[in-house]
Symmetry: C2
Subunit: 142 residues, 2 copies
């Protein structure tokens, strides 16, 4: 299985783009991150290693990572996009606690199967999906 950097380099060269040190650092930092990171948060982590990198470059690189399928973009309704890596992860969905903001991931093959059946019925070819359940977690119910 190709690793993330190989996928990125392949995408870069196929599009006749350039593999710069900034893109390398941003990719590494992104891959080390678990969970759902915002551009701002990623920028702060990147700036620790390389303070001269501008946030615009982080935005531009995150867009590239999304295009080549290494990152998933998600909007949880807090006014900014959040990203997570798709590589090395099986597909999963999210339970979001509206009390404390906690995000729990889950994965359910039966739901996916039903989704695909539904898409077929509506004559869609589905490439991606988002499923988010909003509610209160165990701690916040009290």
């Amino acid at each position: 299985m190709r690793n993330a950097k190989e996928i990125f380099e392949e995408y870069i060269s196929k599009k006749k783009l350039k593999f710069t040190s900034q893109r390398n650092i941003i990719l590494d930092t992104f891959l080390k991150e678990e969970g759902h990171i915002s551009t701002e948060e990623l920028y702060e982590k990147v700036a620790q290693k390389s303070p001269s990198i501008g946030i615009a470059t982080v935005y531009r690189t995150l867009k590239l990572l999304t295009e080549c399928g290494l990152a998933y973009e998600r909007q949880f309704g807090d006014g900014q996009s959040r990203y997570e890596h798709s590589h090395e992860h099986i597909h999963h969905d999210h339970l979001i606690c509206t009390g404390c903001g906690k995000i729990v991931e889950f994965e359910n093959a039966d739901i996916e199967k039903l989704q695909n059946e539904m898409a077929k019925k509506k004559k869609f070819k589905v490439y991606a999906h988002k499923l988010e359940l909003y509610g209160l977690c165990h701690d916040c119910i009290k």
Copy 2:
């Protein structure tokens, strides 16, 4: 079954807010609308009836309608929030064509059942969910 205006008036009085002509017009306009309307689009429709209403009031009223459960807020990734009415509609999800932007609604009780089971397993009490399938519609596959 209470109609939308009753629900809104009830919410307004419970919160000791005021039922103004602007809120009335915005609610009426919103209810006449089918599908997924953005704040800007709703503002334009409202302005046809009552040009003096400002867009800030539309934003504020839409927030109220969301709070009292009459509107659902959705983000389809085009950079703005879109709203649809929840009243008089059974719950449904969306198929979104990334080719032409078409949005098809569907409803599937089996998926909802699985979602609730999953929430229970993770000890969540779920109040809302969003399910969106992204892909190409029949016309765009060609």
